[in-house]
């Protein structure tokens, strides 16, 4: 191929792509009529909910389909060259030099029995780099992905590195050949927000430096928004809208995009007492469903008769975009599915649950692991307290201590409505057990797949209320109504229900007794965006109706901002900051909270605070302040020697840091409070 053609062709051109999977005996359409172009040097996003076919597009481009998949139509051109009819040799050549891919779960992407250095070196070997230069090149490229100690990393095996580090290595391999196209398929899903932010920054830097085109695939609108110039929205194997990112998200021309955006709480959305979240009704059609007319009609609030008869084309719309909607100009007039008025609720200052002086030490291989240390937390009647922090910070352990599943260390005091609570669930009274319940992250794991909905909820009702058969049955049906499910679902098994319905069943079960506190452990993170909003609404409504308190564990700060009254930030088994939600989000922040907040993909890069390194092992916490090994605001020796206490620096706002609040305010560039801080103390 000559330099001439290379200049004139876009990096990637997908035309009329259609693809099928064989499921059982039948071939089912998985992608249809996919059309998009990635220009040279451009970052192009592909966004959609699970099951919409995002990854299938990537695999079709890499020409690496599973054995039950086949392309039935269309062309995929990489720099003008059709990849659908290459010889194996040409294909390999293409993969070596022109196109690379990074995907989810770096932990499994590298061969466990080959050293990192060797695996990266392969790429250079394939490129034909002479043997003596290769090691240097490997070091260079690892340097480029900001691996601090490349020599050491090269000698490691994959299991010896963290997820973030592995993803850097995978990215290094992908960019080594300076490919024309780099495909990133959910590269940060499953990584902590802080690590995600680092990886995303890295990808952006590299793209600017190398000038590759990027195809970025993600379910996260925020990530796509941050990373991409243009974006395509995928639904049920069809493109719904394609256009510049700004235009697509700020001025959406398809009802699906509008709906998705409304489902997501953002800093601009009001809080839960001000507004509900809008939702998208209905479900994704099953793979291969034959639907005449618009595939989105079932769920679309703008649907007209014609929509059910004629499938819309990708119609050019203003702002250099296309939209697969007959009534694209009315997309933003989409009526709300749920009324905007938020349920009214009462809150009181009365303490429901207090845990004081809590610690939990596990013993692992004979060595102690300090999972929780010196926790003091109060939850009031009818309020929502959010618990945030990276994985490994002890959030779930705290939840399990409250539930009585893990017995805390001696000295821990848990009190429910002022009465002491036994450390073990087995020693609590029936009332106490019913009073603290839990909604789990993953309904597939939380619901017994062999039991009917009636049995799942009914059993909990029976044990937690101990009433007659009739009352139990009535209560079960009542609970179904409360979680907005019809009684036709009573006999269903979990697998016959969608993810959202399953989570509703799990919520109904948690409300079987009359709970005073429900612990929600990432209740929406296994769900798609459109379902997530409905579940959050439901939780808010139930709280208003039942006056229940929530301990809401989440990594999604936008959800936390929307739903929480107070926020507790955890790091390495300690509370670092506790305060009302508006106060915690407004600042001044504890340095760790500051870093967490700035890791959010909603923010622009220049304001980011980088967190160095990884969360230390709980078996060997750092001396002094546990955050000192990573703290960007560390003030000196005192941080390394003296552990700061959790102190009430403002009424109702607690922090665990040596820096005085006024100084934090200055450091974080916020206007000083009423009293001007004395700069002399710095």
């Amino acid at each position: 191929m000559t330099a001439q053609t290379a200049i004139t062709h876009p990096a990637l051109e997908v035309r009329d792509l259609a693809l099928e999977y064989r499921i059982g005996p039948d071939w089912k359409s998985a992608l249809r009529d996919i059309n998009f172009t990635v220009e040279r040097g451009e970052s192009f996003g592909l966004v959609g909910e699970s099951g919409c076919g995002k990854s299938t597009v990537a695999m079709a481009i890499m020409h690496y389909l599973p054995r039950n998949g086949r392309v039935t139509q269309g062309s995929i051109r990489l720099a003008g060259r059709d990849v659908t009819d290459l010889s194996p040799r040409e294909l390999r050549d293409l993969r070596v030099n022109k196109i690379s891919m990074v995907y989810q779960n770096p932990g499994t992407a590298l061969n466990p029995s080959i050293r990192i250095g060797r695996q990266v070196e392969d790429v250079f070997e394939l490129m034909g780099v002479p043997a003596r230069e290769r090691e240097g090149r490997v070091r260079q490229v690892l340097d480029k992905v900001q691996i601090a100690d490349p020599i050491r990393v090269m000698r490691r095996y994959p299991h010896q590195l963290s997820g973030g580090m592995l993803q850097r290595v995978v990215i290094a391999m992908a960019i080594a050949s300076r490919p024309a196209l780099l495909i990133l398929d959910e590269p940060t899903t499953g990584l902590d927000a802080t690590v995600e932010a680092e990886v995303l920054d890295l990808v952006r830097d590299l793209r600017d430096e190398i000038g590759t085109s990027v195809l970025f695939i993600s379910h996260s609108l925020a990530v796509i928004r941050k990373m991409c110039d243009r974006v395509a929205v995928l639904y049920a194997g069809r493109l719904m809208a394609v256009g510049p990112t700004e235009e697509t998200f700020n001025n959406p021309s398809h009802p699906y995009t509008v709906g998705l955006l409304r489902c997501l709480p953002s800093p601009e959305t009001g809080r839960r007492d001000e507004t509900t979240l809008d939702t998208i009704p209905g479900f994704l059609p099953p793979l291969g469903a034959e639907i005449t007319g618009c595939i989105y009609a079932e769920r679309c609030g703008n649907v007209q008769d014609i929509c059910r008869e004629v499938e819309p084309e990708l119609i050019p719309v203003p702002g250099d975009s296309v939209s697969r909607c007959h009534f694209w100009d009315r997309a933003q007039e989409l009526p709300r599915t749920v009324p905007e008025a938020a349920p009214r609720r009462e809150r009181s200052e009365e303490t429901l649950l207090a845990i004081t002086n809590a610690s939990k030490t596990f013993v692992q291989d004979g060595a102690p692991v300090y999972a929780l240390h010196d926790i003091d937390l109060e939850i009031r009647v009818g309020e929502t307290v959010a618990l945030v922090g990276e994985s490994g910070s002890g959030k779930s352990t705290l939840a399990k201590v409250l539930l009585g599943i893990h017995a805390p260390d001696d000295g821990t005091v848990i009190a429910l409505s002022g009465k002491g609570l036994s450390a073990k669930v087995a020693q609590r009274t029936q009332g106490e057990i019913g009073a603290i319940q839990m909604v789990f992250q993953n309904p597939d794991s939380a619901l017994n797949r062999r039991h009917s909905v009636r049995r799942i909820i009914g059993r909990a009702v029976r044990l937690l209320r101990r009433e007659g058969r009739k009352e139990t049955d009535d209560r079960t049906k009542n609970l179904m109504r409360e979680v907005r499910m019809g009684s036709q679902h009573l006999l269903a098994k979990p697998r016959q229900l969608s993810g959202g319905l399953k989570q509703r069943v799990a919520i109904a079960r948690a409300f079987a007794g009359t709970p005073a506190l429900v612990i929600c452990d990432e209740p929406t993170s296994a769900l798609d965006v459109s379902v997530q909003a409905a579940i959050i609404n439901l939780l808010a409504e139930l709280q208003a109706e039942e006056n229940v308190s929530y301990l809401f564990i989440s990594h999604d700060l936008n959800v936390v901002r929307y739903i929480a009254d107070r926020v507790a930030v955890m790091y390495l088994g300690r509370l670092m900051e506790v305060g009302s939600s508006p106060r915690v989000f407004a600042g001044p922040h504890h340095p760790y909270t500051e870093a967490l907040l700035s890791a959010s993909p909603d923010l622009e890069e220049d304001t980011r605070i980088r967190l160095e390194g990884e969360i230390p092992a709980a078996s060997n916490p750092p001396s002094g302040c546990v955050f000192q090994t990573r703290c960007p605001r560390k003030i000196g020796v005192i941080c390394e020697t003296v552990e700061p206490p959790l102190e009430e620096a403002e009424p109702g706002w607690f922090k665990r840091c040596h820096i005085p609040i006024e100084e934090l305010r200055l450091l974080q560039g916020q206007p000083p409070a009423e009293v001007t801080a004395d700069p002399a103390t710095t």
Partner: protein, 318 residues
């Protein structure tokens, strides 16, 4: 880390052996009730039974018997055989050498063949050759050795007359004559082992081929040959090692039947005649040795596995 692993694994093997010795002891000294009576039969006089019990030491309390027996076992003294009136250690040792020859020949045939077959089946998954290897291998595995042995004898020894129908070569025959005699029994064992090892290999290869890291390698542009050799086989054959070693256990069990069928003087035949003659000291000693050998081979396999697997070798040194 590795040192601790070895120690732990070794300790476990010892505990298992100790347990085994108790089981064997129960089976050979306690279950039979009056050992002397069982050996001599219902028509022997009470005096001769008592005399035998006294000679064997089976009139003492069980705990004393056990400590005595196990104490001897540790120092290599397993008592004397009743029928052969010779030290058990000597008889077992001689038989083991014979069995080792047969087992070695079987292993030499079956290991490369079945691993190759398993890889081939995995690479041609779903095609005819795959079905042939898996279904055919499975069928061969489950047919008892005496059935396949009979058919082999019928064909190769009786009808065609190509190979001898007994495994024991005449005294003083050369290496090749010995091997010729061992060929039919070895094929018998091969038939049983082939399907099993091939299936494990196939499963391992398929798993490795579907692993993310293999996808990485392919998408890197590595040639298929290299991908299979380096990415797939390297990770897939590790579990196969453990399986091959665990087949030692089967092999010894299979040897009983095969050696009886082909009248070969190995450990299987020895145990068989010990059982038939109610020769309890020989039976107990033989079974204990067999168990020890099995544990030993499992231990070696585990060590080899962990040595080759960096995830275990380097555990904790991250």
């Amino acid at each position: 880390m590795m040192g601790r692993f070895v120690l732990r694994r070794f300790g476990l093997a010892l505990i298992t052996l100790a347990l085994l010795s108790v089981l064997v002891f129960i089976g050979t000294q306690l279950l039979p009730g009056d050992v002397g009576r069982r050996v001599l039969g219902p028509f022997a006089t009470q005096e001769s039974v008592d005399a035998l019990n006294a000679r064997l030491g089976t009139d003492r309390p069980p705990l004393v018997q056990y400590t005595d027996w196990i104490g001897g076992a540790v120092t290599g003294d397993l008592g004397d055989s009743i029928t052969f009136a010779r030290p058990v250690t000597e008889l077992v040792g001689r038989a083991l050498i014979n069995s080792a020859k047969l087992a070695a020949l079987a292993f030499v045939i079956v290991v490369p063949l079945s691993i190759w077959g398993g890889i081939l089946a995995a690479l041609r998954r779903g095609r005819l050759i795959d079905r042939l290897i898996t279904v055919g291998g499975l069928s061969a595995t489950v047919i008892p050795e005496f059935v396949s042995g009979i058919v082999l004898i019928l064909i190769f020894a009786v009808t065609l007359g190509w190979l001898p129908g007994t495994a024991s070569a005449p005294r003083g025959s050369g290496f090749f004559t010995q091997m010729r005699h061992l060929l039919l029994p070895a094929i018998c064992l091969t038939l049983v082992l082939f399907g099993y090892i091939a299936r494990i290999t196939r499963a391992g290869v398929i798993e490795a081929m579907e692993a993310d890291y293999t996808r990485t390698a392919i998408l890197k542009g590595l040639p298929r040959r290299v991908v299979i050799r380096r990415e797939v086989l390297r990770n897939a054959l590790l579990p196969t090692i453990a399986v091959v070693a665990s087949q030692m256990g089967y092999l010894i069990g299979g040897l009983v039947v095969v050696e009886v069928l082909f009248s070969y003087q190995g450990i299987g035949q020895l145990l068989y005649s010990a059982a038939q003659n109610a020769d309890f000291p020989l039976l107990a000693g033989g079974v204990l040795v067999v168990g020890a050998m099995f544990q030993g081979s499992m231990l070696l396999a585990d060590l080899a596995y962990s040595w080759l697997n960096p995830r275990i070798r380097l555990a904790g040194s991250g």
